[in-house]
Symmetry: C2
Subunit: 433 residues, 2 copies
């Protein structure tokens, strides 16, 4: 494999990210060639619509709509930036089988099929690199694989969806509703017209599956992850949380319970987090990943979690790494999942909880709620009565529990909902300590 | 080189960090062996005083006081945690010449002799890895070498000395003097009895030389770096800065002026930084490095900058990386400095400045000061009169300038110092925008 005079690259996709990659390859050709030792050359670019205007000027003879032709071109590295599960997965598999390195930004494919693709890469003597699949340009895959590899990772907590973090930041700062904040995000291009993938936490769950699999050397599937979106949050949740000293963030959390339990929790949900924690201060479209290990303690990685340029930074870092390996004739060792670790059922989670309940403003209502929790061994840490509406004779009560099992809290809430004085339970949020 | 059945390691030094490394190698042997593919085995440990109590139990037959014996042992990797320039540098050089990988935490040796040692490693077909030399366990060397390698780095701003950051944090929070805060830091073991290396910025300058060399692919020597310590700061500087919306941090700054200038600035000094910037919120012994690149924008790495466990995390990441290379028979490619970039003289720096001047409280004094700056083309952005002492007829004036050349500001200050009404110029600090 050594002694190449150039490294050929096939690019699958020429959208915003693909355009960024093509532009970097063209405009930075000289500096990349110096860093790798040999030039990187674009061999083929697969597009859907060849007539579309592009932000980058590429040699039209490189462009093809024929996937077979693109994949069979004489390339050492295939960069996949089409996105979505199909046909990206099939293209990647084929490229690996042909003995080509693959660099991908595809979180869905890596979350669902990462282990099979890594094994395929191993069989073919190549590698599949996917730094851009999580956190845009923020280095996090490579630090987990290399820089933190001497640690047993105990937890990973992340803000890895910029869309939802932007919405939550606006809701908190301006006391506006979810729908108004979503519209702002859509107007700015931060949210899709159909935002479910982001606001329901699917995107964060894919990314968490990738990170947790690396952190714990085991396979975590997207369906293993408990997932709750941000659509039920109301402006007053942010206000009450702030009064109690917390921010509300959509957190992706992976945590390993120490032996003898030795199970992992993996969950994506909005959570109260103490206002003085670093993650509480990560605002707008920024992303951040905090990793805790037995040696390193806590370390935080923060930066732009999306956008064509940051994503290009991550993709090209992988491309340059692969190119150096190819140019040197090194034998790569794709990541291996060495452990089988059980995923702890959500019902067994132990957490503190924030609860907002609308009640009829009448003596004894609080005693009734306390009894429902008491019956389930959930103890209350604090209660604040809020927003009394004298005309409607209603009040809102905000409760913080002590640490309790999720199953017990849910059972308590069911009982509370059946109380005559309770209009409805407005929101239940976990507190991330 | 391939097909090793184990990887032998020689450890030079068994102090706090060396003890941490030895302990990790012993206690985590099984998990490290799984991650590398073959076991890592401690072959020899060089110590000065074999009778000293150690926090870690090692086989006494491994311990030697004979450097020759330790270096000539049959090891694949030599881990140097002695510190200081000599004899560490000679040991490292010898190990490389013998074809062994070297992992070091030695910032002084890497700052002064890094390029020669990297070249030596290249000639011997091995590598020298030094993640632990900057920022304790925080991954920063490897991200600069790999994850950010597709970028042209435009700036790097860092808090990379935990001792001084602890002192500044205490001075700011408690309005105590430098000496009192230093004593607190010494009592807690955060500062040495002879603290000059930290408080005068030497330690930060070594680390900045290492980071800037990587960021700009050029050789930056410690003596190229402008350096100013924190001993002249007074509690009121923090108070005035806070009133103006700033924190004061000892920053290590490397910045590349775009072409046609194409020169770099490298400097370590206390600076005012806007209170809402991420770096302004990095408190206590934490370290943080913010890197800005043309693709990635700003990315921040934050964590514990010192301590035996975080440092062990970084050292062992390098050891595992080297071990994997050796086990696979890969040919490493030590980092190369490909560019020659000029260092911009400090006199040409353009910055805003904060200035505190004690004056005789008399009409016309401000006009005099303004004239001194005006004569040198330095324009004043704001003036606040502080701390009038009616009995002594003195007042303190705090001035913020607009962006101006360092040479012009220094010339202005010289003129100001010669004014009759000026008792003395209390402090001059740069503002980091």
């Amino acid at each position: 494999m050594g002694g190449r005079s150039q490294i050929g690259i096939t690019l699958l996709g020429l959208g915003v990210v693909g355009g960024g990659v093509a532009r970097a390859l063209l405009e930075k050709a000289e500096s990349y060639s110096r860093r790798v030792g040999v030039p990187l050359v674009l061999r083929r670019i697969l597009v859907r619509d060849p007539s579309r205007e592009r932000s980058v000027q590429v040699d039209r003879s490189l462009i093809t709509t024929d996937a077979e032709e693109a994949l069979d071109a004489d390339a050492d590295i295939v960069v996949e930036v089409i996105g979505g599960e199909h046909p990206a997965r099939e293209y990647i598999e084929r490229a690996l089988k042909q003995g080509r390195y693959v660099v991908t930004a595809n979180k869905e494919v890596m979350a669902k099929h990462g282990p099979e693709l890594l094994a395929e890469a191993g069989r073919a003597g190549v590698d599949i690199l996917y730094e851009a699949s999580v956190g845009g340009g923020i280095p996090i895959i490579s630090p987990l694989k290399r820089d933190l590899s001497a640690n047993e990772i105990t937890s990973l907590r992340a803000i890895i969806n910029g869309t939802t973090n932007y919405i939550l930041t606006r809701m908190s700062a301006e006391e506006i509703s979810f729908n108004v904040a979503l519209r702002q995000a859509q107007d700015l291009g931060y949210a899709e017209p159909h935002p479910a993938n982001d606001v329901e936490g699917h995107d964060a769950a894919y990314k968490l599956a990738i990170l947790a699999s690396l952190a714990f050397h085991t396979r975590v599937r997207p369906e293993d992850i408990y997932r709750e979106g941000i659509t039920r949050l109301e402006p007053r949740d942010f206000r009450y949380a702030a009064e109690l000293g917390y921010a509300i963030k959509l957190l992706a959390i992976a945590r390993r319970d120490p032996p003898p339990a030795d199970a992992i929790q993996v969950r994506v949900h909005p959570a109260l987090i103490a206002a003085d924690e670093l993650l509480a201060k990560v605002d707008g479209v920024l992303n951040a990943v905090q990793v805790e290990g037995d040696l390193i303690g806590r370390v935080l990685f923060q930066g732009a979690g999306a956008g064509p340029l940051p994503t290009t930074s991550a993709i090209m870092a992988d491309v340059l790494d692969a190119a150096r390996s190819i140019a040197q004739g090194s034998r790569p060792s794709p990541w291996r999942y060495t452990a089988a670790v059980a995923v702890k059922p959500m019902a067994e989670l132990v957490s503190r909880y924030y609860l907002r309940v609308e009640v009829t403003d009448r003596p004894g209502v609080l005693a009734g709620i306390a009894r429902c929790f008491g019956d389930n061994q959930v103890s209350i840490a604090s209660v604040i009565q809020k927003e009394t509406d004298e005309a409607a004779q209603t009040a809102e009560i905000v409760i913080m529990t002590h640490a309790a099992r999720e199953a017990a809290v849910q059972a308590g809430i069911q009982q509370i909902e059946s109380l005559e004085e309770v209009r409805h339970v407005g929101n239940v949020l976990r507190v991330e300590d």
